[in-house]
């Protein structure tokens, strides 16, 4: 290709025995949006990290404008016009947007705030960004921070912009805005690379798609000549069907009645504000919201891990008197059959211990049974065998530390363990965080099985497409308030997205 700015030839990178990139070759061109598609762990980020100077390749060459270059730190990458916006933003919270942009540039002379502001404004006008250079980062929303990151790159003269999973933290409306800006940049002749595993974004935005699978570059396609099914098959390596079997709720039984739940954070800000809802056995209740608007506190409040005011009534079966959960210890709440699994960003921190083996991780739920001071290690080992068997966990054995397993297998163990305790309320947050398509669908189906068994499933998710497909009802949180409870069968992700950003009038579905 004549207009290729960057050519990557046979890049290989290994971490210990893991081959992250295996002889990957790729071209990047001006005036084009390239989507780098692949499942988690397929080596997309590693490849781009080598381009932006974070990692150094084991072997292979990088050419910029036809010349071989060695990029051994991000500063060198900037020198070649390559800049990357990472998934976790690299911004200093206490500084302003403008200060963050010039940080590390080491320009001579005094800091000329006016000139910097002027330059930022010019970039913003050119591409359609909207930021206040004097605003502190800690006052910004996630989407604003992302904008600062992108403008920072442009400020530094980047003309090859890499974005790592840029839409993971955005609402559908914000995503659309970002796409407009990226298209403007393309028109201006810049090269844009987005790393993603979302097919609809690839189709909507990109001109060309490069697919990575297990570190190998398996396909390079023109977006207009392909379709989501073909891309999925390439990405996964075999054909899979993408649908969730949502059964109708039969005879929903009330399990939880949450009334006026409120919670105040350390800084005195209300994190939850009068949240009320019911959860029924035999249904999946989805909880949607921008990250950090109370989902975690809500679930932790129910599980007794977070101090809240208000009432949480639990109905162990249809005819029994309700029990108040608020004020009970987490241990007692677990004993009643209310299970909470939360998959945090690092995927291990809140449910599993990376350094312990499978059997010991199963023990987390059961170790306290019985009066003996000694822990029963036999039952958990048997359970581990069972989960490995039933959920097809790929592991050399049950005596392997969990950290040695891949993300998907780790989460199967977590969900498998929670399900094995046959909970009557199963709360699961981000259960498919970072999982490949295949495993995600296994987990959705596991939750559906629990629903059919009669458990009340509460599912906090990030992917609106999935929430709309999986849940019977969706509760939308906005700034700690319930901005609506909608019927999962009759709603659209745009409607949910709108509720996520504004209190668009209390909206409630009449019945199930």
């Amino acid at each position: 290709m004549d207009n290729a700015v960057i050519q990557i030839k046979n890049l290989t990178k290994t971490f210990g025995s893991v081959v992250a990139n295996d002889h990957v070759s790729l071209e990047i061109r001006h005036g084009e949006i390239l989507a780098l598609l692949g499942e988690n762990g397929s080596g997309k980020t590693t490849l781009m990290n080598m381009l932006s100077g974070i990692y150094y390749p084991d072997s292979g060459e990088i050419f910029v404008d036809g010349k071989e270059v060695l990029i051994d730190n991000p500063r060198v990458a900037f020198g070649y016009g390559i800049g990357m916006v990472h998934q976790h933003f690299k911004l200093v919270d206490v500084l302003t947007a403008a200060e963050n942009m010039v940080l590390g540039l080491n320009e001579k002379g005094r800091l000329n705030t006016k000139a910097i502001g002027e330059k930022i404004r010019k970039i913003c006008d050119q591409y359609g960004f909207n930021i206040d250079p004097d605003k502190k980062i800690y006052d910004m929303s996630v989407s604003e921070k992302q904008t600062v990151e992108i403008v920072k790159m442009l400020y530094r003269g980047v003309d090859i912009l890499i974005l790592d999973e840029p839409t993971a933290v955005l609402t559908p409306q914000e995503t659309e805005k970002l796409f407009t800006v990226l298209r403007n940049m393309k028109k201006d002749g810049k090269a844009v690379i987005i790393i993603t595993h979302k097919l609809n974004e690839v189709m909507a935005l990109s001109d060309r798609v490069a697919v990575l699978r297990k570190g190998v570059h398996v396909g390079d396609l023109i977006t207009s000549e392909t379709n989501p099914q073909e891309l999925t098959n390439l990405m996964v390596g075999h054909s899979i069907t993408l649908n969730i079997n949502r059964t109708l709720c039969e005879k929903p039984v009330k399990k939880l009645e949450v009334k006026n739940l409120s919670c105040v954070g350390d800084d005195g800000v209300k994190i939850l504000d009068n949240v009320s809802f019911d959860a029924f056995g035999g249904e999946v209740l989805g909880i949607a919201g921008i990250s950090g608007c109370g989902q975690k506190e809500l679930l932790e409040g129910i599980a007794g891990l977070q101090k809240v005011s208000g009432s949480i009534k639990f109905y162990s079966d249809e005819n029994s008197e309700p029990e108040e959960l608020n004020g009970k210890s987490p241990k007692d709440i677990i004993k009643k059959g209310i299970s909470l699994s939360f998959v945090p960003e690092d995927r291990l921190g809140m449910g599993l211990i990376g350094n312990m083996d499978l059997a010991d991780n199963m023990m987390l739920r059961s170790y306290n049974k019985g009066k003996s001071p000694f822990a029963d290690r036999k039952a958990p080992a048997e359970l581990a065998e069972k989960v490995v068997d039933e959920l097809e966990v790929v592991t050399p054995g049950i005596n392997v530390p969990v950290r040695n397993l891949s993300g998907g297998n780790v989460q199967k163990i977590l969900v498998g363990r929670e399900i094995a305790s046959e909970p009557s309320v199963l709360m699961s947050a981000y259960a498919v965080r970072g999982l490949d398509i295949n495993t995600s669908y296994i987990i959705y189906n596991l939750m559906n099985e629990q629903k059919e068994r009669g458990a009340a499933v509460i599912y906090v998710g990030e992917d609106l497409d999935v929430l709309v497909e999986l849940c019977d009802r969706i509760l939308v949180l906005c700034d700690g308030k319930v901005s609506g409870i909608v019927d999962g069968r009759n709603t659209t992700k745009e409607e949910v997205g709108l509720l996520m950003t504004s209190l668009g009038g209390e909206k409630e579905v009449v019945s199930l």
Binding site: E68, L305, F374
Partner: protein
């Protein structure tokens, strides 16, 4: 393309190693001790002595005679005890640097009983009571930083360190104040009555039997019990512990009470079995050296037996080389430091290896 445009690949890079087999890892650790001994040999050589002769005398002076062996055991036993004390705390990633103070507190209460109540109690009862009281007070001393950590999240390293100075300062006050031996010129606490001294088995006070029993106790406690499991979980991840319904504050406080109790027992043993009196240096740095022992043994109680014996040999042997060669006894500390450095360094080689620049591929287009 001109030659100066081609930057070179870095000469040496550090890269992560594939998982190493435990056999190979042990081999790397073992060879690090050899490297440390060789380095120590170089230092001895630089001082103008024959390393072989010096090392030989260390062994001879610490192991090869009855008296030498007993003296070595008297160092090894409290060291092992202190290491066992901090093991559960360290497993919980609660960095208890206060074993020194907890030992001292155990020693203080034992001394109180030995000075005041020894005549009023039958001898076995006296030992049982002092043992229990020393354990309780050592435990309470350990509980203080645990309570603050559990309640307000204070830094336990600083907290436990500071408590050491308070305990030792209190001993100074007792020594020149209420407990001063009136018959002496130099202010010191009186020697214990014969009845308050621990009986000996095979020439060493019976404390060694208690400590060996504790080796098994701690091993089983840490690997087989519910408590041990809770400690491990809290150490790995507090949030996972919370999510599985554990009361993290309770686990922290309970574990530190245990840790302090064992240290208190070591204090009891030191005053009633070894020194027969209380002084500012009763704890003698055991609480700190124990950190080295615990670390080198990776918290395995059985390995601790070997490591504390090894360090005791070095310490006792260094007294011998001081008399025989005139090398300062602190030489053993240098050697201990070298071993620790090499062993910690070896962990790096277990996880990483160096990649050297390959032969240049050539800069031709």
């Amino acid at each position: 393309m001109t030659a100066e445009n081609i930057k070179k690949e870095p000469l040496i890079r550090v890269a992560k190693r594939p998982e190493v087999s435990s056999k190979k890892a042990m081999l790397i650790r073992f060879s690090s001790i050899i490297v440390a001994l060789l380095l120590g040999g170089l230092i001895i050589l630089a001082l103008g002595f024959n390393p072989v002769a010096v090392y030989g005398d260390i062994v001879k002076g610490s192991l090869l005679s009855g008296t030498a062996l007993k003296a070595t055991a008297k160092i090894a036993v409290p060291l092992l005890g202190a290491a066992l004390a901090i093991a559960p705390a360290f497993k919980m990633k609660f960095w208890n640097c206060g074993a020194e103070g907890q030992i001292t507190v155990g020693a203080i209460v034992s001394t109180y009983f030995a000075l005041n109540l020894v005549d009023t109690l039958p001898r076995p009862v006296f030992f049982v009571v002092t043992f229990v009281v020393a354990a309780i007070f050592g435990g309470l001393w350990g509980l203080i930083p645990a309570f603050f950590k559990a309640r307000w999240g204070t830094n336990e390293t600083l907290f436990t360190l500071m408590l050491n100075y308070i305990a030792i300062g209190f001993v100074k006050y007792l020594r020149i104040g209420p407990w001063m031996d009136k018959g002496q010129m130099f202010p010191k606490v009186p020697m214990f009555d014969k009845a308050a001294r621990l009986p000996e088995v095979f020439g060493v006070h019976i404390g060694w039997i208690i400590i060996l029993a504790l080796v098994f106790f701690i091993y089983i406690y840490m690997t087989r019990t519910k408590h041990g499991y809770e400690i491990a979980v809290v150490g790995e991840s507090v949030s996972t512990a919370r999510y599985s319904g554990m009361n993290v504050a309770k686990v922290i406080m309970r574990t530190m009470f245990l840790s302090g109790s064992i240290a208190g027992i070591v204090g009891w043993m030191l005053v009633c079995g070894t020194n027969y009196t209380l002084s500012d240096t009763t704890a003698n740095g055991y609480g700190f050296t124990a950190i080295v022992v615990a670390w080198l043994s990776k918290l395995n109680p059985f390995v601790m037996v070997l490591i504390s014996a090894f360090l005791a040999v070095l310490q006792k042997g260094s007294n011998t080389i001081q008399t025989n060669f005139g090398i300062p006894a602190s030489a053993s500390e240098v050697l201990t430091g070298l071993i620790l450095l090499c062993m910690l360094g070896s962990e790096f080689f277990i996880n990483y290896h160096f990649v050297f620049r390959k032969k240049t591929v050539g800069g031709e287009d």
